[in-house]
Symmetry: C2
Subunit: 267 residues, 2 copies
């Protein structure tokens, strides 16, 4: 079984991904797709006139400010736009995709962060009305039931808090949790770079192999969005997923290439 | 097993519905919820600056004009907003709701209408780029699998055309198809009126019982949105659903009341 996380950044289509999933299904491979919706959320928020905001943590990490209105927009963009777009493209290829959010069937239960520390104008303040959180429990039985029925699950944020609120969870890390819970052999994380770059954005500086003992160092090398992907890879590896591959979503046959070892292979 | 169709018109909340579903689940009853998204689609379209349009058929029936942009908005409103709102409210009550659209797992396959005749300025014209259609095949095995796993399915348009396009399908009629495919004992159709009224909008003119032989006459009495509901009732009854109840979504305990016979009972 393979779990594929696909990003939604500019330049990434789902056609080549879905072509690959079709081939893998024809070879009898079980595939689970996980996606996020950050860019589509920004697009929808702008269309609705709700300006996206971001928080910077004391350690310099940037995250989306997800107030009550924004979690609704995030949910709408992820479940109503990105998820159904992928399901439709699978159905076009005769692959019986089924879209689920973290809310559905309690797929991704987690904790909502009660307080987030953020720097604003040089001053640290505490944000308490944010709907951000992390997945700590995967309903793997539900996903297995779908796979056993010949379906291809397409999993999407938001997650479900203990108080049944939707929460903005990072899809890379949710994919890592899911791969671990399902006992997947491989987690492929696709984005708009060829893998982990020693000197971002120089694509010739691709790190093609990483041992699990190198992951702490890799976390320091990673920039921007790649930091979360390396963190997700680390969480997957520590939870006994044998292999994680950070690979290029923009290529033809992105999953097949990744499985052949193109990208950054962590094992 | 009970299939409950809930409307989304002004004044209809999902709290009382979800309270009822919780009680029914505690009594061991299997429940399938079906919803539409017409009002939420209009709201989202207006927010996005895409003015909703409607077509009038030569027989005087009004339907939404669903062009390529509108089917995307319809899908987003149904799957991203209404569906997840209901799933969340079920999860709040400890009911393990799972939201699916007609695309997911090929739940509602159907035909897209290749041409729609519409009257415009007194002239009949043919609209060919519309994404409207009807469900003619329900993946009842998928819904049964969910029910058997203790889940409460929450089903939403759009449907899936033979060419894997999303189609705007009427949720009342899709609910009728679903009830028939599942062999449900009862189909409850909730809306913002007490049932079928002999003299709309006079609520004291409620028709409390209807024989199946009266349905053709009832179709003539029904006005506006109620026409589709009576048509759906007729389709369900003709497909051997033993009982259909048109009832008031605005009441406390809307489903329990309907099951006690409040509304228009057709059998």
């Amino acid at each position: 079984m393979i779990v594929v996380k696909v990003g939604g950044a500019a330049g990434i289509g789902y056609d080549t991904l879905c072509d690959d999933v079709q081939s893998l299904r024809e070879q009898g491979e079980q595939v689970v797709i996980v996606h996020g919706g950050s860019d589509e959320t920004t697009r929808l928020a702008e269309q609705l006139g709700h300006e996206p905001q971001f928080l910077t943590s004391p350690s310099g990490h940037t995250s989306r400010r997800t107030d009550a209105e924004m979690i609704e927009i995030f949910q709408t963009a992820c479940c109503g736009r990105v998820n159904k777009r992928i399901v439709r493209q699978l159905q076009e290829r005769g692959v019986n995709g089924i879209g689920l959010s973290g809310l559905d069937g309690g797929l991704w239960r987690g904790r909502r962060k009660k307080a987030i520390r953020a720097i604003e104008d040089g001053v640290t303040r505490v944000v308490r009305d944010d709907y951000t959180g992390t997945v700590d429990e995967v309903n793997d039985g539900l996903v297995r039931m779908m796979l056993d029925a010949g379906l291809t699950p397409v999993l999407s944020p938001p997650g479900l808090s203990r108080d049944a609120e939707p929460i903005n969870v990072d899809a890379d890390r949710a994919a890592a949790r899911t791969a671990a819970a399902l006992g997947a052999e491989t987690l492929v994380i696709l984005s708009n770079v060829p893998g982990l770059l020693r000197e971002f954005p120089d694509e010739s500086s691709l790190i093609s192999e990483l041992a699990r003992t190198d992951l702490d160092t890799a976390l320091e090398v990673a920039e921007g969005r790649m930091k979360k992907k390396v963190l997700a890879a680390q969480e997957a590896i520590e939870a006994d997923v044998p292999r994680v591959i950070l690979a290029d979503a923009r290529a033809e046959e992105p999953v097949a290439r990744a499985l052949r070892g193109e990208g950054t292979v962590i094992s």
